[in-house]
Subunit: 366 residues, 2 copies
């Protein structure tokens, strides 16, 4: 049985969103197969998906979601440890479809179903329609027989949030106050919705996300919680680098902030790789459709090692063929000595605007 809970909230019922570093039941990924968002009909991105899904499955359960017509090939490409489930979507990026999980201290888990409008709806959103993506949450909760809170009046993508599991969330003004998400909703109302529906006490606002990011400033390219009180932050030392002002601003905000428990943050600067540009040849292998945001050749991409992913006992880090790749793996290994840190070549996903964190969805173990 799956109940839709409309007359209460996680905060009222004693549920909270756990940190991504807390134990997982498993992960969902959506098979990249749409030609407008992945080049060559998704074939290159699928090879990355196989590597990432099989890496996750070494640590915890991994379910890949794909279309009816892609099922046979998707199933054949992945090893037996990975589960494949049919579900129709309009686009990949499982993190962002408004699906969250909250837990309580009685080891219960419930879903939270926010609204989704393809990163801005008809007001500079990335694609149209998003009818199936709106249903993704309900379908997942049905699949897992989870009761869920219906918060579809409020648009919120997972990539637009970072939480510490102890009452704190970091979001960005650029995204979470963008009129293309929740219209004229005030800062207070946005805070109230986050707190009520994710069981939180404190909202920290960072001004904006990375340049070249088409999501209107998702926080998951800027920083993540390594553990409560400890933040990894995208960084570049060169003050003339176009991303420098963004990171500096975030650093200043976070270094002056305290979390829900009153702690100051320990902040670790994680240097980004060199800017990556999508080549003319690469750009030419995307489908041309009127219903998706256009892609430009030689466009700079938002790339950072921050968009990695926690698994039970491990951490998966994007690799770009950059000298910084190794440095970051070493750094993360020191920061998370209890975890196996694994680098995965995910440049291909970056061409489509995201990375491992965007593509995955973590289901906590209550």
């Amino acid at each position: 049985m799956t109940r839709r809970i409309k007359n209460s909230t996680p905060l009222r019922d004693g549920f909270r969103i756990p940190g991504e570093f807390e134990p997982h039941i498993g992960s969902y990924i959506i098979w990249p197969e749409k030609g407008f968002e992945f080049r060559n009909g998704g074939k290159n991105a699928q090879r990355v998906c196989v590597n990432v899904a099989e890496a996750i499955a070494e640590f915890e359960e991994c379910t890949v979601i794909c279309s009816a017509d892609g099922y046979e090939n998707c199933r054949a490409r992945l090893n037996d440890k990975v589960r494949v489930v049919e579900m129709t979507t309009n686009a990949a990026w499982a993190q962002d479809k408004g699906v969250f999980y909250v837990v309580n201290d009685k080891s219960e888990m419930r879903g939270v179903h926010f609204g989704f409008n393809a990163y801005g709806g008809l007001n500079e959103g990335l694609y149209f329609p998003w009818n199936y993506d709106q249903q993704f949450g309900e379908k997942l909760f049905q699949l897992d027989r989870l009761d869920f809170y219906d918060a579809r009046h409020f648009i919120l993508e997972g990539g637009a949030t970072q939480v510490d599991g102890e009452g704190t969330i970091i979001i960005s003004e650029q995204c979470n106050l963008n009129p293309n998400r929740n219209g004229s909703m005030s800062r207070d109302e946005v805070e109230r919705n986050c707190k009520e529906y994710l069981g939180l006490e404190k909202v920290i606002w960072v001004k904006r996300g990375m340049l070249f990011d088409e999501t209107d400033g998702h926080i998951d390219d800027i920083c993540f919680f390594v553990s409560p009180g400890v933040i990894a932050l995208s960084w570049v030392d060169d003050e003339s680098h176009p991303q420098y002002p963004v990171f500096k601003e975030a650093y200043d905000t976070l270094s002056q902030a305290t979390d829900a428990k009153g702690r100051k943050f320990e902040i670790h600067k994680i240097h980004i790789p060199d800017i990556i540009y999508i080549s003319e040849e690469e750009n030419d292998t995307f489908d041309i459709v009127a219903t998706a945001a256009p892609r430009e050749k030689n466009q700079a991409l938002a790339v950072t090692y921050i968009n990695g992913y926690f698994v039970e006992g491990g951490y998966l880090v994007p690799q770009f063929g950059d000298p910084m790749d190794e440095v970051v793996i070493k750094k993360y290994s020191e920061l998370m000595p209890q975890r196996k840190v694994i680098g995965l070549d995910t440049r291909e996903w970056s061409l489509s605007g995201g990375n491992i964190h965007c593509m995955t969805l973590q289901q906590p173990r209550p």
Copy 2:
């Protein structure tokens, strides 16, 4: 993890198919929504589906499977006790897509995945294509994280089998030796495949199924096991009734047979209702497609109370608005005093060629 087992069989590994009267984990039903197999785009049959699914959900878990585009409506029509899962199919009739479950005495369960060709393939099969229906088994086993035996070289529909859970299966020559199922496969080879892949010892052959049945003689309109050694059999007293020779033949075969344990059968005759004909008006509301077997107005339908369904603690019986409806409910209540016997008006499904047993798929509790 879901492993495809190709180099062994349930018989070799100590697995057996349980009787349908044994405990269930739950049931699957496919939402009727295709206009070529259900009239008015499935709307009438959907009302029956709601009643049946909600009746099942009072006893055990019930999952309704539907298309991506039908999901929202299907979810809205059913109460919260019923789970809804997206999965693409070519046609409804969950019982028949080659999906079986076997259990062992260590409380383990595995799937068995037979082939499926839409009741005869290009040689008088009922529809084309059947590409999604062929994948139904693998998708269900993935969903439920079940290892399964790959027996796709052998076509076998659930409705073409009746088992007693103690080593005996009843099948029909008309269906199971039909060249449109397994070509020129001999009687011995068919027996061997049934025994190996369902963990059985004895095959009992009935000559044929009911007249007016488009499946080439499915046994699930002829008889079912009430319990090991006890059979309910479709019957009519009038020797001039067109179905009489079929039932008499089956009665003669079964009354002379012994099961895998060497027992003679206790046979209970269950009288069928009056013949039902599809009206011109009803027939006119089916979609006209070149890729499905044509339906004729005023055609007689194969209707029987035998095509009912076991649930945990209950039994669901088709009702046709016939005087026999009540008689059968009373009879079943006496035969199965420990079960709640529930009648459901399913005439609408009969118009499409099946009834509750055909539409459902039981998953045993190992």
